[in-house]
C-alpha cells in the first residue's frame, strides 16, 4: 500500500446518529479509542508468535518452492477477495448497510460471463482458446459483464434498499439477506444447483521452478489495474469526491448541491463492477462456479473488509490480501477443513479487540 492511497483513507463511514445493531455499535464505540489498547497489542503479538512457532517447522520441512507456491495462490485469491471486499466497504461507507447480497452479485458476474464467452464475434472455449488472440475478446467480456452487473446492482438498490433508506437499519439488512436468496434462486433456475465448469482459458505456464503460474500473475495484475482505476476515480473525479462527501455527511453533501440518490447509485454500480470482475477472475482461476458460491465467499470478503477497517477502501484491499494469504497458508500447511474456522475466528477477534480494523479511521496527518 503506497502513499498514493493516502487520500483514499478518507473514504470512511462517519458518525451519523441513530445507529443500533451490535456490529455497528462495536464499530462506532471503537472510534473513540483508535489507538489499540495494550491488551489488544499483547494478544495480537502473542497470537502471531504462536502461529509462527507452530508453522515454521512445517514451512521448513516442505521447502521454499512450496512456500512460494502458497504465497502465489494466497495473493491471487486475496486479490479476488479484495475486489469483493471493496464493494462491501464502499456500500457500508455510504449507506451504512452491510450488503449481504454482495457475494451473490459476484457469482452473478461469473454466471453472466459464461454465455458471453461464446458469441458470434469470438469463441472463447478451451478448444479454441489460448494465445494472444483471447486478450481482446476477454477484455470485451469483462467490460460487458461489469456493465450489466453494475446496472443490475443499481436496480437492486433502487428497488430493495432505497425505499428503506430512512427505515430502522435492521430492515435493509434483512432485505439484503432476502436479495441474496433471490439472486441465488435466480441463478439456480438458470443453471441449476450444480458445479459448472468455467473454461480454463488462461495460460498455465509456470515460472520460478514451477512456483508462480501465468494464471496467478494475470489475476493479480487484473486486480491491481481495477483497484488503481478505482483509486483514481475516487480521488480525481467529481463523482468520486461527491461519494466521499456523501459518505462523510449526507445532509451537508445534499446542501452542497450533490444529488445523493445518484451518488449512492454510482456506489452500488462501482461495487458491482468490481465484484463482477472478481467473479470472472475467480471463474478463470478456479474453473468452477455454482449458484451458492457467493455467500461463503462474500462472508470471507466481508471479514477482509472488517479486518482492514470497514468503510476504508485501501483497508479492504489490504484486508483481502491478508485474508487470502492466511487462507492459503492454512490450506497448505494446516488443514483446509479448518480454513473457514480460522477466517471467522479472525472476524470475531477483530470485532471484539479492534473493531476499527487494521487501517481503521486513521488519516495521515499533514
Amino acid at each position: 500500500m503506497g502513499g498514493g492511497f493516502g487520500p483514499l483513507l478518507s473514504f470512511l463511514a462517519t458518525t451519523r446518529g441513530g445507529l443500533d445493531g451490535h456490529l455497528v455499535g462495536a464499530l462506532r464505540k471503537a472510534r473513540s479509542s483508535v489507538q489499540s489498547s495494550l491488551v489488544t497489542r499483547v494478544i495480537g503479538i502473542a497470537l502471531a508468535a504462536v502461529v509462527i512457532i507452530y508453522l515454521s517447522p512445517k514451512v521448513y520441512a516442505l521447502g521454499p518452492s512450496y512456500f512460494l507456491r502458497i504465497v502465489a495462490v494466497g495473493v491471487a485469491l486475496g486479490a479476488i477477495y479484495a475486489l469483493i471486499a471493496i464493494g462491501y466497504t464502499m456500500v457500508y461507507g455510504i449507506v451504512e448497510l452491510i450488503n449481504f447480497a454482495h457475494g451473490d452479485v459476484f457469482t452473478l458476474g461469473a454466471f453472466i460471463s459464461l454465455p458471453l464467452l461464446v458469441t458470434p464475434f469470438w469463441h472463447l472455449t478451451e478448444e479454441t482458446g489460448g494465445g494472444w488472440g483471447i486478450v481482446l475478446p476477454l477484455i470485451a467480456v469483462f467490460l460487458i459483464v461489469m456493465l450489466i452487473t453494475g446496472l443490475i446492482n443499481v436496480g437492486i438498490e433502487r428497488v430493495a434498499y432505497r425505499p428503506l433508506r430512512n427505515a430502522p437499519r435492521l430492515a435493509p439488512l434483512i432485505t439484503a439477506v432476502g436479495v441474496s436468496f433471490f439472486l441465488e434462486g435466480v441463478m439456480y433456475l438458470w443453471k441449476g444447483a450444480v458445479n459448472l465448469h468455467y473454461p480454463d482459458l488462461l495460460p498455465s505456464n509456470r515460472f520460478v521452478g514451477g512456483t508462480f503460474s501465468a494464471k496467478d500473475v494475470i489475476v493479480i495484475v487484473a486486480a491491481v489495474i481495477l483497484v488503481a482505476g478505482l483509486a483514481f476515480f475516487v480521488n480525481q473525479t467529481k463523482l468520486g469526491k461527491a461519494m466521499r462527501a456523501t459518505a462523510q455527511d449526507r445532509d451537508a453533501a445534499r446542501l452542497m448541491g450533490i444529488n445523493i440518490d445518484r451518488t449512492i447509485s454510482a456506489t452500488f454500480f462501482i461495487g458491482a463492477v468490481l465484484a463482477a470482475a472478481g467473479g470472472i477472475t475467480y471463474g478463470l482461476y478456479i474453473n468452477s462456479v455454482n449458484n451458492g458460491l457467493g455467500f461463503p465467499i462474500g462472508l470471507v470478503a466481508f471479514t477482509a473488509a472488517v479486518f482492514g477497517g470497514i468503510g476504508n477502501i485501501p483497508g479492504a484491499a489490504l484486508g483481502g490480501l491478508i485474508i487470502g494469504l492466511i487462507r492459503a497458508t492454512n490450506d497448505g500447511y494446516v488443514d483446509p477443513q479448518w480454513t473457514d474456522v480460522v477466517t471467522f475466528a479472525i472476524l470475531i477477534l477483530v470485532l471484539t479487540l479492534r473493531p476499527t480494523g487494521l487501517l481503521g479511521m486513521r488519516v495521515p496527518e499533514k
Partner: protein
Amino acid sequence: MNEPILSIHGLTKRFLGLTAVDNVTFDVKRNEIFALIGPNGAGKTTLFNCVTGLFAPTLGRVVFDGSEITGTRPHRVAKLGIARTFQNIRLFDYMTVIENVLVGEHARMHAKLWDSVFKTPQERREEAHVRERARELLKFVGLEKHAESYARNLPYGQQRRLEIARALATDPKLLLLDEPAAGFTPQEKAELMQLVQRLREQGLTIFMIEHDMKIVMGVSERIVVLDHGEKIAEGTPEVVRRDQRVIEAYLGKSA
C-alpha cells in the same frame, strides 16, 4: 428589486404530536441581513431545514426568488441559490480544507464524468478556474494558509469559517447561517460581524439564526422572533427589543 428573495407563507412542521413550527409567515428582503431568534427549541433550525429541503413542511409554502420551492429536494435548492451552515459544524472531516470548498464548487461544474476521466482541455480549464476560486474563497475567510490541512485538524473557529467558505462555494444568493457565532470569543465575534457585512456588500442576502444579542442587534436590519414554533414578533432591532412578548419569552412572565 424590492420583492422579497424568500417568502414563507403559513409554514407549519409537525413531528407526530409536536408542532415545531406553527403557521409562520414572513419575508426576507433582497440584500438585507435578517435574523431569526428565539429561545432554545423554538423551531428555528426546523424552519431552516424546511427552507433548504431537508424537511418537507407539513403545511405552508416557501417561495424563493420568485419560484415555489416547497418540498424541493436539497440539492435542487442548493443549485437554485440557497446555501447554509450548521449549528453543530458539519464539515467533510476527512477531506482537506480546499477539497471541502471544491465539493461545493463541483456541483456547479459543467464537465461530465467523461471529461474528468480523460482530462479534456475543457475540464482542465474549468478545474483550474474552480481551484482558483476556491483559493479566493479561503482567502476571503482567512484560511488560505491551511488549504491542505485536513478539515478535522482545524481549530474550532476556523472550522466555522470553513463552513461559510464551503457554503459560498455553491455561489448562493441567499446564505443561511445557523448560529455562526456559537462558541466564539469576542474577537472572533467582531470578525464574524465584519465578514457578514462584507458578504452583504457583495450582494448576498444573509438570513441567520443567532443567540448572541450583540451580533443580532449589531448587524441585522430586521428580526423575527419565534417561541414554541410561533412567530411572536417581527421588526427592526429597536422594535423587537422593546416587545413585551419577546421579553417574556426570554425572561419569563413577571408575576
